[in-house]
């Protein structure tokens, strides 16, 4: 019986705490992620908390299912609808399956936006992409060019030849190369996002093109394998490996000098920007419609395209100065 009493007391306390919270009435913004326990999303939460602190009257609810399933996210969203939160920012496990429940949330007056992995247009007011194909393409060639001021030859080590994302980024990169007339692209090789194949392809590139100055790998598997191949071939200092990678996987290669730097979206900035936008839309300070310009605080402004999608920023650049700090996060 005493246990039950304890339970009742704690329940009453919880109720009292809730009542207090309701009096102060902070805006409650829920960050719904693919699954809890993923470093990338914990960093997103960090950014969201930063935004909340800056805004003052915002409380962040960081939540998500235990497994990356759409069904799990629907259960979470239902609980958030029940709590009548002010806004939901979601990175969806399924672009379509979340639409009915998010529609219901919007019908009940909740602001819904998606970030990172988007939701189909019917299920959200806007989608915040970490970056855009054009910005990534520009960044890829810029990182290589910065390491070779006199110009020279570069090669690309991609994932598979059919990888949609990588192909789009490489296309965008080729367009941006017009700005670098003294850089020549030798070849696009494909490592199929497998470590051993990517490693062999990187070796082949070094043998085929003795004047190669940079390998650009827009894939987290490829960039690691290429950096390893450069280290093993004792080509550090002669060939710079760059592209898109994860700080935790690339920190060693940055310190060895095989990579002078690489890029990936910054999850902290993404969480910050998503929270800023959610707050703005929930407060009715702006309406998400094609062409609308939304404020993202220290991240600047974003303009929505015809699908109500916007790109936050250039991919974030990581080098020897900051890679260790982010390697702890993701």
């Amino acid at each position: 019986m005493s246990n039950f009493k304890k339970l009742l007391v704690s329940a009453a306390l919880a109720t009292a705490m809730f009542a207090n919270g309701a009096n102060a009435a902070p805006k409650r913004i829920a960050i719904v992620v693919k699954a809890l326990g993923i470093g990338f999303f914990d960093a997103v939460d960090k950014g969201a908390e930063e935004a909340a602190k800056q805004l003052g009257d915002v409380q962040i609810i960081y939540t998500g299912p235990t497994k990356t399933t759409a069904e799990g996210q629907i259960e979470v969203v239902n609980a958030l609808i029940a709590q009548k939160v002010d806004a939901i920012a979601i990175s969806a496990n399924d672009k379509d399956a979340l639409v009915p429940v998010l529609k219901k949330a919007m019908e009940r007056g909740i602001t819904v936006i998606s970030f990172d992995s988007g939701v189909a247009p019917a299920g959200r007011e806007m989608q915040l992409n970490a970056s855009s194909t054009e910005l990534i393409g520009k960044m890829l060639i810029k990182m290589a060019a910065d390491s070779m001021p006199k110009g020279g030859e570069v090669a690309v080590l991609s994932a598979s030849a059919t990888a949609t994302n990588q192909n789009a980024w490489i296309e965008a990169m080729k367009k941006s190369m017009a700005a670098y007339p003294n850089i020549k692209l030798d070849e696009v090789a494909y490592g199929d996002d497998m470590a051993d194949k990517s490693y062999r392809e990187a070796q082949a590139l070094m043998q085929k093109y003795p004047n190669l100055k940079a390998i650009i790998a827009p894939t987290t598997v490829g960039i690691q394998a290429a950096a390893q191949a450069v280290e093993d071939a004792k080509m550090v200092g002669k060939i710079n490996v760059t592209g898109l990678g994860l700080p935790s996987e690339m920190a060693g290669h940055v310190h060895s000098g095989a990579s002078q730097g690489f890029a990936i979206w910054n999850p902290i900035d993404l969480g910050y920007a998503a929270t800023m936008i959610a707050d703005e839309l929930a407060a009715k300070k702006a309406v998400a419609k094609p062409g609308a310009v939304l404020d993202m605080g220290r991240m600047g402004k974003v303009t929505l395209d015809a699908n109500n999608e916007g790109a936050m920023a250039d991919p974030f650049f990581y080098d020897a100065k900051n890679v260790d700090q982010f390697a702890k996060i993701f």
């Binding site: 339970l7 939540t63 235990t66 497994k67 759409a70 069904e71 629907i74 259960e75 029940a82 399956a97």
Partner: protein, 334 residues
């Protein structure tokens, strides 16, 4: 908790304890107490809990799984198991998605979903009762097979574009806050309760689970009963697939991933002996309520889902360990 021996003797007319005493000491009564406690605690813990619409939304946490659990319970009582149910849902959903691209309307879609479920059930049944393979191995195999077909058909694509009328099964309301799924699951509870507890077929299920050889020599057609049980599990997976697909409005090959374990958890938590021979439909319903209310209650307090998993895991170990510990305790006291 009355111990496995009493639970097994539940349907013997010469039992020594009175029906009322057995009722009070039963697992189901304990579950009912747990449900009431969870309900009270949740009402105190969150101001949003006691809202008819919120509770109605919360029922979606378990309705589809419970439909399958109704068929899984008799199957486990009969000493078999079907781990392919979630994959059957995926295959049925994929078939429905394909039917949409061929211009099928809502009635045809329901027909396709249920029929695919039935065929999958028959496939399992033939392998288990026809060839005599162990069901756990067969259904682990078909678990990969059925979902594998979905992956081959869909890859990283999705079927969307279900007709508007199809949304009724997973999103519609029959009356006030009572959703179609909730009403359906209530009707199915009655149907399966009667089937298991009030018919010769139900008695045969318990007899097979306690001693299949003895049941066979008593004139029970063991193979046929098991065949029907697998078929029912397949059909219910098809029905659940119709509801879930309608609720999501789309199909991906990863749909209902991991549902089979939640269904088995529900059944075992409901007091069904995993080795077969005992268990009831009301117990399974109460277990579903426990799981659904705990998930929703924790969700309202924004408690991470992993805490809920730990809670259910401990409950499950308790269910299996307590009767055995109790029996050992009794035996030691002589």
């Amino acid at each position: 908790m009355s111990g496995a021996s009493v639970a097994k003797g539940r349907h013997l007319p010469n039992s020594l304890t009175s029906p009322a005493a057995r009722m009070v000491k039963s697992w189901e009564s304990l579950l009912l107490v747990v449900v009431v406690v969870i309900f009270i605690v949740n009402s105190f813990a969150s101001p949003y809990f006691l809202d008819p619409w919120n509770l109605s939304d919360a029922t979606y946490n378990f309705t589809e799984k419970l439909m399958i659990a109704f068929a899984m319970a008799p199957l486990i009582i009969a000493g078999e198991i079907d781990l392919s149910v979630a994959s059957i849902m995926a295959l049925a959903s994929t078939a429905m998605g394909y039917a949409v691209t061929q211009g099928a309307g809502t009635p045809e879609l329901v027909g396709v979903g249920v029929t695919v479920g039935l065929l999958c059930g028959v496939f399992n049944a033939v392998l288990v009762t026809g060839i005599g393979l162990p069901s756990i191995v067969v259904t682990i195999g078909t678990m990969s097979l059925f979902r594998g077909i979905s992956y081959i058909v869909l890859g990283d694509k999705a079927y969307t574009g279900y007709p508007a009328g199809f949304a009724y099964f997973g999103q519609g309301y029959v009356w006030y806050v009572f959703s179609f799924e909730l009403i359906l699951v209530a009707l199915l509870a009655v149907a399966f309760g009667v089937l298991l507890h009030r018919t010769n077929f139900g008695r045969a299920v318990y007899a097979i689970g306690n001693n299949a050889t003895a049941a066979l020599f008593s004139g029970i057609r063991v193979g046929r009963v098991k065949f029907i049980l697998f078929l029912l599990t397949g059909v219910m997976s098809g029905v659940a697939s119709v509801c879930l697909t309608s609720r999501l409005g789309s199909t991906r090959p990863s749909i209902a991933l991991g549902t089979e374990l939640e269904v088995v958890t529900m059944v075992v938590l409901g007091g069904v002996n995993i080795l077969g021979g005992s268990g009831t439909i009301p117990g399974v319903v109460l277990a579903a309520l426990v799981m659904g209310l705990v998930t929703f209650g924790f969700g309202l307090l924004n408690v991470p889902g992993i805490v809920m998993s730990i809670f259910i895991g401990l409950l499950l170990i308790g269910v299996i360990a307590l009767p055995r510990l109790w029996a050992q305790f009794r035996a030691r006291r002589g």
